[in-house]
């Protein structure tokens, strides 16, 4: 297929997935804000979220003082923020429009309808009236988009590039969500909370992380035990049967890469294969001992590199 077409499909999927993950993160924060907590803790939560998205300085620059309303505006409807839900869904739709002939009618209409409905929902105050319901809607549109892709598209290159985009983006997003704790604690002023309170706060924190990736119930099913940070990290990184885990994402990346293999892509496949193998044979104790934040930082760099390699090998190759 045309390299440009593959590029549009890849980014259509990435932006759709990114919108979903942004909605997931925002929803967790909205939910957490309902729990009793200090104003500082609440602000810290919002700042951590902006931090993992690498948007903290843009936000401060544009809005100054942090209010939850401004964060929501910035992350949902601000067209100047390329990661806002509006920006992502607009980009997803523009990419789909550029290659609408390659998509099934159902896939295109799903993208187009999401974009059109988003405008009217925001106009009608959905975000303000019931943010959780709004985020739920964003998530379901993303589910629908993936479902209609799997349900209607021929399993050809177009399909594989869409899937590649989805899982590369998800790997990045899950790693960022896991790393939020680091960003949160970094800016913490010294607290003299009781260890008990801290333990309780930790429970809600990790539970929220699990919920944000729809893994709360899965955790219970897998571990049948109390929530500990180690297990959360293990579940979201090393469990291949957990659909949003790093390992699951990399497994899909490797598989889809194999399907689109060309004359110059072996190095990229090897690069992805190594990353996959590290997770597959990884051990959570070792990772934690070496430092979770360092591991995730390095992981994000490698996912970024992988994205660049995919672009170079398939999406904008030189002539002849």
């Amino acid at each position: 297929m045309l390299s440009r077409t593959a590029d549009h499909l890849f980014w259509m999927a990435r932006y759709t997935e990114r919108a979903e993950n942004t909605a997931r993160m925002l929803d967790v924060n909205v939910q957490t804000a309902l729990l009793p907590q200090s104003a500082e803790a609440a602000e810290q939560g919002w700042r951590a979220m902006l931090g993992i998205s690498e948007l903290l300085s843009e936000f401060d620059h544009k809005y100054g003082l942090l209010t939850p309303k401004d964060v929501l505006d910035f992350m949902v409807r601000d067209p100047d923020n390329p990661s806002s839900i509006v920006s992502c869904l607009t980009q997803a739709r523009e990419n789909a429009r550029a290659v609408r002939g390659t998509l099934t009618t159902e896939v295109w209409e799903t993208q187009n309808a999401t974009y059109l409905d988003l405008q009217s929902k925001l106009r009608n105050g959905w975000l303000e009236n019931d943010p959780s319901q709004f985020f739920e809607w964003v998530k379901y549109r993303s589910h629908l988009s993936r479902g209609v892709t799997i349900g209607t598209m021929l399993k050809d290159e177009a399909f594989y590039f869409i899937r590649l985009g989805t899982f590369l983006e998800r790997a990045d997003n899950t790693a960022r969500i896991l790393d939020v704790k680091f960003h949160g604690t970094q800016s913490t002023t010294e607290t003299d909370a009781h260890p008990e309170e801290e333990a309780q706060r930790d429970f809600y924190y990790w539970a929220a992380i699990l919920r944000s990736v729809s893994a709360f119930e899965i955790y219970r099913k897998v571990y049948r035990d109390v929530i500990t940070p180690e297990r959360v990290a293990e579940l979201l990184m090393l469990r291949g049967d957990m659909p949003r885990s790093l390992l699951a994402c990399l497994e899909e990346v490797v598989n889809n890469l194999q399907h689109v293999h060309n004359d110059v892509s072996s190095d990229t496949e090897r690069f992805a294969g190594r990353l996959h193998a590290e997770l597959k044979f990884g051990n959570i104790q070792e990772i934690l001992k070496a430092g979770l934040h360092d591991y995730l930082t390095q992981f994000l760099e490698r996912v970024y590199e992988l994205g660049n390699r995919v672009s170079r090998d398939f999406l904008v190759p030189l002539a002849a």
Partner: protein, 470 residues
């Protein structure tokens, strides 16, 4: 009675035979049901993204072309006459283009003046002496037809470059079948949905000599082009790649597209981009839409362009008056479809007549398109007429004039209810090894009362066109 032909009503009291069943059906439809269906149509068109992009300040804005639910119905007998006339006309036009890029017999015979051709901005000297497959130049022609009276059809314009609108023909039909399936049980309506198949077949039939399994692509200027929906639609319906200039390159005297598995050779390009932008090495050097070197491959006969380069020489308004004579010259037949009587302002006598009768005439720019740059005398103010007079005097070569035809009208839903609005018809004629078409076309409707301008860029709408099978 108004002084135009009404497609549906013979007079105030009676409906034409072929509209009777429709009228019976319409009279039983509660107004709120019709309203709901019309809203539904808008909603579906928007959701499906059947839009056209608007040029200007709001680049990238998309607009819906208004769709009207009252069909334009053409009886079988009338269509047979139209079809015969279209085949004849498009055949002659293709022969004309071939002739002027080769022996120029028609010029030597004195039928068309040489300066009309060689001083025409659309004439491409690069095409002189070049052979194209099957001698076909206008593979896809959109011929605009209006009706003045019973059985009285006039050709208004031949579009031989990149005619648009076929996607609306197909989508309007789909919409009518979706909204009013019961209507289709009452009538035997010729289907149109196989058009993309016919187009693909046609394009494959004109592949370069020796290519047995040609790779066909549709070439678009990109998603901000006003007809982008149509480009994407046709590529999808034919199952071929939709490419832009930047996806293509020329190497070793062949055209390739950049794919995820490396370069792939292509054989037939259905290009929806004007000559000027095709090849920056040959035409406009500032064009980023084209493919450097494309012309050289084309001239070597190693890729087919549909339509061919240089077809514009036959479709502008300065050549139009000669088409009936072309038909006689090449086919030794009498033209089946009429031309509208046309005054060529480059001729002193015709100019004088035009200047004397401006309030009654329609004056058009020879190279104009999209309903821009024209004067509709009866609908213009004195000041507008005087302003146009000055333009005409400054550049008489640039204009033709025609009597204001009493274009037929078709009942149409407007704000005030159902009222007659003027319409035209654009059937799409395919030329390859044979000349063929689906029975139907795009009916465009001028939504403003009394207006004769049907172009979508001027606020026109569309209707489904039903050609009856018997």
């Amino acid at each position: 009675m108004p002084n135009f032909f009404d497609e549906m009503y013979a007079d105030e009291a009676s409906v034409r035979t072929h509209y009777r069943r429709f009228q019976d059906w319409l009279s039983t439809q509660p107004p709120e049901v019709i309203d709901r269906k019309r809203t539904e149509a808008d909603f579906i068109f928007r959701r499906v993204g059947i839009t056209f992009a608007v040029y200007g300040n709001d680049a990238g804005t998309e607009r819906l072309i208004p769709f009207d639910i009252i069909p334009r119905i053409i009886p079988a007998k009338e269509w047979a006459q139209l079809e015969a006339g279209l085949v004849q006309r498009v055949k002659a036009l293709n022969m004309f283009i071939h002739d002027i890029y080769h022996d120029q017999n028609i010029v030597k015979a004195g039928v068309v003046p040489a300066e009309q051709i060689f001083r025409n901005a659309q004439y491409r000297p690069e095409m002189q002496g070049i052979s194209v497959v099957s001698d076909i130049y206008a593979h896809i022609a959109g011929v605009d037809i209006v009706r003045a009276g019973e059985g009285e059809f006039y050709v208004l314009e031949d579009n031989l470059r990149v005619p648009s609108g076929v996607s609306y023909m197909l989508e309007d039909r789909k919409m009518m079948m979706r909204l009013f399936p019961e209507l289709f049980a009452h009538y035997k309506i010729a289907p149109v949905a196989h058009y993309p198949d016919m187009l693909l077949d046609n394009l494959r039939s004109v592949a370069p000599v020796g290519v047995s399994d040609p790779t066909v692509v549709v070439m678009t200027p990109g998603m901000y082009n006003s007809a982008y929906f149509e480009h994407a639609f046709l590529a999808q319906q034919m199952g071929v790649e939709l490419v832009e200039g930047k996806d293509l390159f020329v190497d070793d005297n062949a055209v390739y597209m950049r794919t995820t598995r490396g370069p792939k050779r292509i054989d037939v390009i259905y290009r929806r981009i004007d000559d000027d932008f095709l090849d920056p090495l040959a035409f406009r050097p500032d064009s980023s839409l084209g493919v450097p070197g494309l012309l050289s491959v084309y001239r070597a006969g190693r890729v087919t362009l549909a339509n061919a380069i240089g077809t514009g020489v036959a479709d502008d308004k300065s050549i139009y008056p000669y088409v009936p004579n072309m038909i006689k010259f090449y086919l030794s037949e009498d033209p089946i479809l009429n031309n509208v009587p046309t005054y060529q302002c480059r001729k002193q006598e015709d100019l004088q007549y035009t200047l004397d009768n401006l309030p009654e005439l329609v004056v058009k720019e020879v190279h104009g398109a999209g309903g821009y740059g024209m004067l509709v005398g009866p609908a213009s103010t004195k000041a507008e007429i005087e302003a146009f007079r000055q333009r005409l005097l400054a550049k008489p070569d640039g204009y033709i004039a025609q009597p204001t035809l009493a274009l037929s009208a078709c009942p149409t839903y407007v704000d005030a209810g159902i009222a007659p609005r003027h319409i035209d018809l654009r059937p799409f004629v395919l030329s390859g090894k044979t000349v063929s078409m689906v029975k139907g076309g795009l009916t465009r409707v001028a939504l403003n009362e009394g207006s004769l301008v049907v172009n979508s860029s001027q606020g026109g709408g569309t209707k489904d066109t039903w050609v009856l099978e018997r």
